[in-house]
């Protein structure tokens, strides 16, 4: 008899997610930072290991009729668990309210992990709500300024949730089903205008969460107003969760209307890339610059969704992973410098002289974001643009490449500032930022130079979602 079976491992994942919440609540009572941190670290790592095991044995079953355990969900479970761990480390070292953050992170983690596993539309809505509300609270607790960013995020995401609920209610009457595959199996789903409207509403609502233009107005204020560790969470993980939800819904429920959503997503993607890059050029505040750059990155990821092929999905999954690590690493350094009141591009001058490691690390992360080989961001963009060309979307690929070029303007400006000669007192990097940044660098360099394993994994992911 085997020691561990896929089904038991799946129960284990659910139990660990519950334990994460429980330990977060317990932290409110024992109030020991160290205990809360190590406990959640252990839980997240074991959870990632279990999910990786499920992926390795290519499990495919539905738990409780609610949670779909298959390669797609398990890939993102591993990815997001690792991302959450990085945010956890960052919060431990840098938040004065770590206990509260830990509690809220536990709740948010459940939402984040459930979205890719969701087997019904209702689960997706609830999980997304569970992701955003704790994030808004984290911003409210840790924010240096007023409540404005938290309220902005909360209001816009509640509108998004309402729209989502409406979109669900439009498709529900067709066969009184909420299951993703059950709806997709219904023959009357194609060609109906009501269903089409529902799809548009889904895209719009999730575009708010994923910060696609023109639904991205909350992003810069929230990113700037939130403390850096929460910004890393929102930019690195929450946004990716919304993209995963969008991919799930489009490719299971609405797969029959593929030409329509291809066009729609392509338009959103182009607008998002241009808006993000052009707005980022105008920023002097580094945090805002990264906020806009992450908007443009969302546009790149959507190129793969617009291609709507297996190859496109692979590349989107690859770039989701790449950007999650890159942006968490970038915001880790930004957070650390912000505490020393270094905020604008002007303030960053001479960073390489004040702390060589941070200078080189931020440079590598930005080069990766700009898509310079041999780094992970390059592989991601390479896959995305080639997927667009292979799907026949030449113009989209061209615009993507053009935008990739535009982005070098603001990344280059900041890199130039970092290597300016200015002698000032040295800055010491603390342990938590160093740990996060080293982890991120290892990932983006290793998968940049040798992307083959991750590409093989994303192929399995795309296969499992498309049911091939």
């Amino acid at each position: 008899m085997e020691l561990i079976t896929p089904v038991w491992a799946a129960y284990g994942i659910v139990a660990l997610a519950a334990l994460l919440v429980a330990s977060g609540i317990a932290a409110q009572f024992h109030r020991r930072k160290g205990v809360a941190f190590w406990l959640s670290t252990a839980i997240l790592l074991v959870l990632a290991a279990l999910a990786a095991y499920e992926f390795a044995v290519s499990a495919d079953f539905v738990l409780f009729g609610l949670l779909h355990v298959y390669a797609f969900s398990m890939f993102f479970a591993v990815l997001f668990a690792l991302g959450l761990e990085l945010v956890n480390i960052l919060s431990y070292g840098h938040s004065s309210h770590f206990i509260e953050i830990s509690t809220l992170l536990g709740f948010a983690a459940v939402g984040i992990l459930v979205v890719p596993m969701a087997y019904s539309l209702l689960t997706i809505i609830i999980a997304i709500e569970l992701t955003t509300v704790p994030s808004a609270l984290m911003i409210a607790i840790g924010g240096k300024r007023d409540l404005e960013p938290a309220v902005k995020l909360l209001l816009l995401s509640s509108i998004a949730i309402a729209v989502l609920a409406f979109a669900v209610s439009l498709v529900f009457p067709y066969d009184m089903q909420l299951g993703l595959t059950a709806i997709a199996a219904n023959p009357s789903i194609g060609g109906s205008y009501i269903v089409f409207l529902s799809m548009v509403l889904f895209i719009a609502a999730l575009a708010v969460e994923a910060a696609l233009f023109p639904f991205n107005l909350w992003v810069p204020d929230v990113y700037e107003g939130a403390p850096g560790n929460v910004t890393a969470l929102v930019a690195g993980i929450n946004k990716k969760v919304a993209m995963v939800a969008l991919i799930e819904i489009l490719f299971t429920v609405f797969i029959v209307s593929r030409p329509a959503f291809m066009a729609g997503i392509a338009v959103l993607s182009v607008l998002t890339m241009f808006f993000g890059n052009l707005a980022a050029m105008a920023q002097t505040n580094v945090k805002r610059m990264f906020a806009y750059s992450s908007i443009s990155q969302a546009g790149y990821i959507m190129v793969g969704v617009a291609a709507a092929t297996q190859y496109g999905l692979e590349s989107s999954a690859f770039q989701i992973a790449a950007h999650m690590f890159m942006i968490i690493g970038a915001f880790a350094i930004v957070l650390w410098l912000e505490e020393r009141n270094i905020k604008s591009v002007e303030d960053y001058k001479g960073l390489a002289m004040r702390n060589g490691f941070a200078g080189i690390a931020l440079t590598i992360i930005m080069l990766s974001m700009a898509g310079i080989p041999p780094l992970m961001g390059f592989m991601g963009k390479f896959l995305l643009f080639s997927s667009a060309i292979s799907a026949g979307l030449l113009t989209l690929a061209f615009i993507g490449i053009l935008n990739s070029f535009l982005s070098i303007y603001y990344y280059g400006r900041l890199i130039a500032a970092i290597y300016d000669r200015r002698y000032e007192r040295k800055l010491i990097l603390d342990r938590s930022v160093k740990a996060v940044v080293i982890a991120v660098l290892v990932v983006i360099v290793v998968f940049g130079i040798y992307p083959a394993p991750l590409m093989a994994i994303t192929i399995t992911v795309a296969h499992s979602l498309l049911g091939l």
Binding site: A397, F405, I408
Partner: protein
């Protein structure tokens, strides 16, 4: 057979990483050792190729999904360029930036850049070509930005914007080729065999995007405007490598592009016309310069245009003449920039209006510079002469009498350069006081470059006999 190309890349990567944690002296030692090892390996490869006439091919599995392998190959053209890059890098490590405060960073950058250059010249597929291209671009950016002169910020930013634009165009072209050849391949030889089946309209698009990418790097009019500042503001090592080696990235790519796409035969006349315009533009622009480094920059642009002219002839002489000019010009321009760097140190200025009688203070530098000028204007016995002869045989047989037109620009250029040399270098009546002296390292570096210029000028059969006619 011993994997020379992989060994070169390995040595350079190890050298780059190893030189980072150490101080100035040790990092310099590492850089000298690594670049010397690479030079020796390049010489061995040349010897093997001469002996057996074989070319080199080394391969490792890389990204199976795309059918991309980590394959390096070297025939005659590649071998010439690899040799040139290793000579220039070795001379740059020995003679450039010796006393600079940032010597540690600059040694690491030279090795990184040489890694990119050798990887690019020997890459057997366009995926690796693009990867090494961008590594070279970024290394070049830091050579300008963090080690350069007073106006380095403007220069580096312009350089970066142009270069990344070129990279984007190159990427577009590569992706288009990959998806529109029926066999879906990045392999350079595979594309050459399959490119005929790409529709004409698409071939035009591919050609245009890659042509733009390569003329930015060569540089050729009208996408050259990053060049004067970048060459003038980079560190001495930076100028040597940017003008000697980085410009060959574009030239080598252009050679591949013309030999790869069948549509090249339809556009070759336009390319030749552009090359002629660019050559005269460069010659006239050079006459406006009073700064030595900028003047050298424009000569480099002129030679780039001549290379383009040779490539556009699309025949044996033009193509191999261009490849030979890449080698010859790389050596000559590196020599000129090395001498100019010494002049900057000697007199604190490179303004020809102020400099007089350099030969009095620094004889070796003055004569070296003169030799560099002679070499870039194609004096017999220098490698450039061989290249120019081949190129103009090629262009005349392709375009008739018009083929000789770009040669006039070399004459124009030469006239101005001799004038400048006579005024600033050789006049002994009045002279500027020096504040530094040229040491042994500089003289050794001069000697290495001069020796190789004459070696490949007197014995062109070292490389040309490898070509099958």
């Amino acid at each position: 057979m011993f994997p020379y190309l992989f060994a070169m890349l390995g040595v350079l990567l190890a050298g780059t990483l190893a030189s980072l944690p150490f101080g100035k002296r040790i990092s310099r030692g590492i850089a000298v050792a690594a670049t010397l090892a690479v030079l020796v390996m390049a010489a061995l490869m040349l010897a093997i190729a001469l002996g057996s006439g074989s070319s080199f091919y080394e391969s490792l599995p890389y990204i199976g999904v795309f059918g991309v392998s980590f394959s390096l190959q070297a025939g005659m053209v590649q071998l010439a360029l690899v040799t040139m890059a290793s000579i220039v890098a070795f001379a740059a490590v020995i003679g450039g930036n010796v006393e600079s405060e940032n010597a540690k960073a600059s040694n690491a950058l030279v090795m990184l850049f040489e890694l990119a250059a050798i990887g690019l010249f020997s890459s057997a597929n366009f995926f690796l070509f693009y990867v090494f291209w961008d590594i070279g671009v970024i290394a070049g950016f830091f050579m300008i930005y963090s080690l350069g002169g007073a106006m380095r910020r403007v220069a580096a930013n312009a350089y970066l914007v142009y270069s990344i634009f070129a990279s984007a165009m190159l990427l577009l072209g590569i992706l288009l080729i990959y998806f529109y050849t029926p066999v879906h391949t990045f392999s350079i030889s595979g594309i050459g065999a399959a490119a005929g089946s790409i529709p004409i309209a698409l071939q035009e698009l591919i050609f245009l995007s890659m042509f733009i990418a390569f003329i930015v790097k060569m540089p050729v009019f009208p996408l050259h405007s990053w060049m004067p500042n970048a060459y003038a503001e980079a560190s001495t090592q930076g100028s040597m490598l940017l003008s000697g080696v980085l410009s060959k990235f574009g030239a080598y790519g252009m050679l591949l592009l013309f030999s790869m796409l069948p549509i090249a035969s339809k556009v070759s006349e336009y390319a030749f016309a552009l090359a002629a315009i660019s050559a005269f533009y460069a010659a006239f622009a050079a006459m406006h310069q009073s700064d030595i480094k900028r003047m050298i920059g424009y000569t480099s642009m002129l030679e780039g245009s001549i290379i383009l002219a040779g490539i556009s002839a699309l025949n044996y002489f033009g193509t191999y003449g261009s490849a030979y000019l890449m080698l010859a010009h790389g050596l000559a321009v590196a020599l000129l920039f090395l001498a100019a760097g010494s002049i900057q140190k000697l007199f604190g200025s490179t303004d020809m209006r102020a400099l007089r009688g350099i030969v009095k203070n620094a004889g070796s530098t003055a004569y070296t510079f003169l030799l560099g000028v002679l070499s870039s204007t194609g004096m017999p016995l220098t490698a450039t002469f061989i290249a120019d002869v081949l190129i103009f045989i090629g262009t005349i047989s392709a375009f008739g009498v018009l083929g000789i037109v770009p040669l006039l620009s070399i004459i124009l250029m030469g006239a101005y350069m001799y004038y400048a040399v006579r005024r600033s270098f050789l006049s002994t009546a009045t002279f500027t006081q020096s504040r530094w002296h040229v040491g042994v390292p500089q003289n050794v570096a001069y000697a290495i470059l001069i020796a190789s210029i004459f070696l490949f000028g007197i014995m062109p059969m070292l490389l040309l006999q490898l070509v099958k006619i």
